[in-house]
């Protein structure tokens, strides 16, 4: 397989390829549709042939014959390895500790990796009503670690304080020490259009770990609503290889459902 860098690639392709590389050692991934699906599919074809994709709809080991348009699309069921009830999926598979990586999106991310997907403004009379938890609060508490993909990077998306904590980081959970603590590590990685943030300790904070080609550390710090820590060894995000871009465009998302 060619490892030469692609000559041209989109921001989406950069993000998907970065996510795929991080899945090299994951056994099971809990993912929604869109970019996470592409990342898992790419990882499966490159760095991790035995990766298993789990959907909150109850499907484990999907083998769709065409690009799924949702986490409960009929094509993820036909030919899948297993379909279980959502009670078993959330209880035994997820809370039982069988998910290594969960992918989440968010409207807002804070310094410790807590996420807001509920409201902008006040919950009682919100400026914008967002989708809410869905399975997010459950995934954050129980997945081995969580990857977050955000399509914007500015102080509104990375504020000093969230408007609402939908899915709490272990740091925030630790403020309730009388409760049994969640098993998950919380957010380990946030991939944005500017770079990659990482948390290295369960009770630690996010730090800038990689910047995308053409982006400076200062740009990322300015786009972040708190004083963003920077790793000692910040590197440049590896550009997608020509082969990765070919796989994404010619084999994985041939109809450009998510690659735009």
């Amino acid at each position: 397989m060619s490892t030469a860098s692609a000559k041209d690639f989109t921001e989406t392709e950069l993000i998907v390829c970065a996510a795929a590389k991080m899945l090299a050692r994951s056994r099971t991934v809990f993912a929604g549709v869109g970019l996470p699906t592409l990342a898992v599919d790419l990882a499966h074809r490159t760095v991790n042939p035995s990766i298993q994709l789990i959907y909150e709809s109850g499907v484990a080991g999907a083998h769709p014959e065409s690009m799924a348009e949702g986490i409960a699309d009929s094509v993820v069921v036909s030919g899948a390895e297993a379909v279980v009830s959502m009670h078993a999926l959330f209880g035994y598979v997820l809370q039982g500790g069988n998910v290594d990586v969960g992918f989440l999106g968010a409207a807002q991310v804070d310094r410790f990796g807590s996420l807001n997907t509920t409201v902008i403004g006040d919950w009682e009379s919100p400026k914008v009503r967002l989708p809410g938890s869905g399975g997010a609060a459950d995934i954050m508490a129980n997945a081995g670690e969580v990857f977050v993909v955000l399509r914007r990077h500015d102080p509104a998306a990375f504020p000093a304080e969230l408007d609402f904590v939908t899915s709490a980081s272990p740091v925030r959970a630790a403020e309730q020490p009388d409760f049994i603590q969640p098993r998950g590590f919380g957010v380990s990685t946030v991939i944005t259009p500017l770079g990659i943030l990482r948390r290295r300790e369960r009770l630690g904070e996010l730090e800038l770990s990689e910047v995308h080609p053409g982006v400076t550390v200062e740009q990322v710090q300015e786009a972040t609503g708190w004083d963003l820590a920077v790793a000692e060894d910040v590197t440049q995000t590896q550009a997608p290889t020509a082969e990765e871009v070919r796989l994404l465009r010619d084999e994985i998302d041939t109809v450009r459902l998510y690659l735009r």
């Binding site: 009929s74 036909s78 009503r129 939908t166």
Partner: protein
């Protein structure tokens, strides 16, 4: 079990869904009981507490038709297809009226049905520590685990007056078989006082009894079975027809404009006498485009005893 289990959908709705009732319409993307929801709109039932993990287009429709006062759910959008604008108008600006909301996560909703089905006082859950969700939902409480001495959050049982689901098939007694995504249907059904099941097809007892493990809902849990073909459109039925994804996308524009939304309801729901007329209004060409090619399951063998066993010959 009851001789009158098989009834028409209008009769089932009239018999079991009253103004002000708590009603669950379940089906996770798959098998959403749209035909039943439309019939509730047609009958002008109001004041409902509407329970559903992912409200979906169905809630936008039922709320716009003013059937619903309170929403109990864990997701407020239409999967990958975007916002539900009627829901957003109600919550963001009480337009045209406020909507009460009880908010959970997917696992919490699943556990509420589970506790309801098993008539448990509550169900513990590992989520929510550190989250703001318990702060806006006083029904999420905590208990001290008597083994570790630490606290865990718990959620209360959810016992709908009526749960309505759609399925591939049932027999005339009400044994319901489902394949593909089964969601939270078994729990939501057992949690309810009354249960209505719409099915693509009512089949002979022998069909069901050739594969008893396929029965998700035994007859004793079911009050009414209604044969309603294509009863899940615009959602899908595994093995029969696909999700009308174009419809889901079109909905965004319809839902954004209150006048268009009311007009859509007038033409396709309130203006249709029943589900057959709804399907007419959608168009049979369009529906044919959703059909799927066959992909048969294999056959398994349940076995039949050859003769009375050695023991029983004694």
């Amino acid at each position: 079990m009851h001789s009158d289990t098989v009834v028409s959908l209008p009769e089932a709705i009239e018999r079991y869904v009253e103004d002000g009732a708590t009603v669950a319409l379940e089906g996770f993307s798959h098998l959403i009981p749209f035909a039943a929801g439309h019939e509730i709109i047609r009958q002008g039932i109001s004041g409902l507490t509407f329970c559903r993990l992912t409200p979906d287009l169905l809630s936008d429709m039922m709320i716009a038709a003013d059937c619903v006062d309170r929403l109990v759910c864990s997701f407020f959008a239409s999967g990958s297809a975007g916002s539900l604008y009627e829901v957003r108008r109600r919550i963001e600006s009480a337009d045209p009226r406020p909507l009460a909301v009880e908010e959970y996560s997917h696992h919490a909703m699943t556990l509420r049905y589970h506790a309801g089905a098993a008539r448990l006082p509550f169900a513990p859950i590992g989520s929510f520590v550190g989250s703001d969700i318990p702060g806006i939902n006083p029904d999420i409480r905590s208990v001290v685990d008597p083994y570790s001495g630490k606290k865990t959050y718990v959620v209360p049982p959810l016992n709908p007056d009526v749960t309505i689901i759609h399925a591939q098939r049932a027999d005339r007694n009400g044994n319901v078989q489902i394949w593909g995504i089964t969601g939270t249907q078994q729990e939501a059904v057992y949690a309810a006082d009354h249960v209505i099941v719409t099915v693509e097809e009512i089949v002979d007892d022998e069909v069901v009894r050739s594969d008893p493990n396929r029965t998700l809902i035994p007859a004793h849990a079911v009050d009414a079975v209604c044969e309603v073909r294509t009863g899940a459109h615009p959602s899908y039925v595994q093995g029969s027809y696909d999700r009308d994804n174009a419809f889901y996308r079109e909905w965004t524009a319809i839902s954004k404009d209150p006048a268009r939304l009311q007009e859509w309801l007038d033409v396709h729901v309130r203006g249709a006498r029943d589900h057959a007329e709804y399907l007419e209004s959608i168009g049979h060409d369009r529906l044919r485009g959703l059909l799927v090619d066959p992909r048969p399951s294999g056959v398994v063998d349940y076995g039949r005893r050859m003769q009375p066993s050695e023991g029983s010959l004694k």
